[in-house]
Amino acid sequence: MTHWIIMPIVLPAFLAPFIVLAARYHIGIQRVFSLAGVAALVVLSASLVWQVSDGSVLYYRLSDWAAPFGIVLVGDRLSTMMVLLTSVLALFVLLYAIGSGWDDRGRHFHALFQFQLMGILGAFLTGDLFNLFVFFEVLLIASYGLMIHAGGNERLRAGVQYVLFNLIGSTLFLFALGSIYAETGTLNMADLSNRVAMIGAEETVGIRIAAVLLLLVFAIKAALVPLHFWLPSSYAEAPAPVAALFAIMTKVGAYAIIRVYTMIFPPDLEATMGLHEVWLLPAALVSLAIGMIGVLAARKLDRLVAFSIIGSMGMVMVAISLFDPASIAAALYYIIHSTLAGAVLFLIADLVRTGRGNLDLTPQQPMIGTHMTAGMFFAGAIAMAGLPPLSGFLGKLLVLNASFEADLMVWVWAIVLGSSLVSVVGFARAGSVVFWKAHGTPVGEPVEGTGKPAALSYVAIGGLFALLVAHTVFAGKVHGYTTAIATELFDHKTYMSIVLETPGKLSDYKGGH
């Protein structure tokens, strides 16, 4: 049994307290360790992806107890891909945080950052529903700290809303887990998959309630309308590198929906029939529309980006809720794209803040470093709005293509294409107000507190753009890989047999006391 698969969880878990205990007053040492840790994570997760790329499944029993009694970690192609995406994103976000000096504006940024990574990576790797809850809590409690990093009244207010909303989500998650355990007597995902299929047709009341509760919890995480109200203010008020890292957090919800609703409650399960077409798809379409209308209506650049995240999550959820291999493959392709594009836009919004001091969408004098920032915003907007030549366009094409067979195909096409147009107008309006109209306004004294962004900030954003370009150029390969993932998800025999049939430690009962 190889231990590599637990390393992405153990490494940040040890690094974070080390940073707190040993390097509390030395921001330089903190940066070195944090950066080295994330770089090691990238290498680790790349090697995990390489190990499972032939369709094998990595499997780890904690304390060697066999499933379903012990907690297991499972790395198949889907989870390792998400792990790699997270660590690569974290690397560039960390570079930006160091370059822009955000990590020095409050305390313990790097320790919280590592705990956040631990939670996210654990949520991707675990094969146990209760363990998923625990990792959700780890990532949430770290995100509470990161969200209010550097303080300020507005940020604290938004932080309270964010924390309370997520606490209610966690409570709901526990209710769902309790009902699942009461109905089936297990919380291991592979074991649940077998047992849920065995529930008789007339006894499905409890499990149906549990399935819907669980979907609600994941929909809160994925910011699906009408459960999206926590997202705009918290993402807009969070420090820019934190908001960029949060771009992966909504995808944790999407990942959990893909995992649980292909494995435990597959689309052909009679008890939960209609959950996806009747409820999830309309909600996803409304999210897409509301997100992109929000882009058009926003009065500040950070709100605009936050609403574009809601819109792109709507897009991901539209693809997921069609629930066939082609649409899941499209969703996974779009998840990678929207994570990178969302992160890039949050970082660019911070460049604007650095250059002119605020993010209001009003004509002001040209900001410092306006040419570079304007060019980057242009490219980021193209990516997010889904125009050619960047990968958002290909992702939308794949989603549209996958929806050909769907009953609501007309609605999907109308809303996807209509919302694209709305978002193009929204981004164009924001870009022209912030960058073009600036040249017509009289130049006065430079605003206090502004300055030129650091070179490292540009490197971080440039790196994310390079990934987006690579995601476009190698779209065929990536889509082939996501198609393989989707096929594997709907035919999960390897996963099941490895988790349920590998023997573990036996407890030695000698009787008596």
Binding site: E137, V160, L164, L177, G178
Partner: protein, 116 residues
């Protein structure tokens, strides 16, 4: 006993939701605590209610209680305790900073962001 436990969970949940909907920091935190108590009892009951039965294997016992929900509840209690502490600190900071304990955005106090 089932009726008693079920109605207790129901009353706790209802009171928790009512308090959360008050949208002022103090009632909301109290409501969240009531909700977590409710969910803890609910988790506990998910392994079926048994009286006076041991959770550990031994030779002279025939009925057992399920030990797993107890472990789950323990985890949930610890997590919710920590979360409550965090939310108390953050909302205290927000209240002291802005002299306002509304949880939702107030149109007049947020100025230029009233549209949101």
């Amino acid at each position: 006993m089932e009726l008693l436990v079920a109605s207790a969970i129901g009353v706790l949940t209802a009171a928790g939701i009512y308090l959360v909907l008050r949208l002022r920091t103090f009632p909301v935190i109290l409501g969240m605590s009531l909700l977590t108590y409710a969910v803890n009892v609910f988790l506990f009951a998910s392994g079926r209610l048994t009286i006076g039965a041991p959770p550990i294997l031994s030779d002279d016992v025939t009925t057992y209680t399920d030990p797993l929900p107890q472990a789950l509840v323990l985890t949930a209690i610890v997590i919710s305790f920590g979360m409550t502490a965090v939310v108390v600190m953050i909302s205290l900071g927000a209240y002291l900073g802005s002299d306002d304990d509304h949880v939702d955005d107030q149109p007049e106090s947020t100025g230029s962001e009233a549209s949101q």
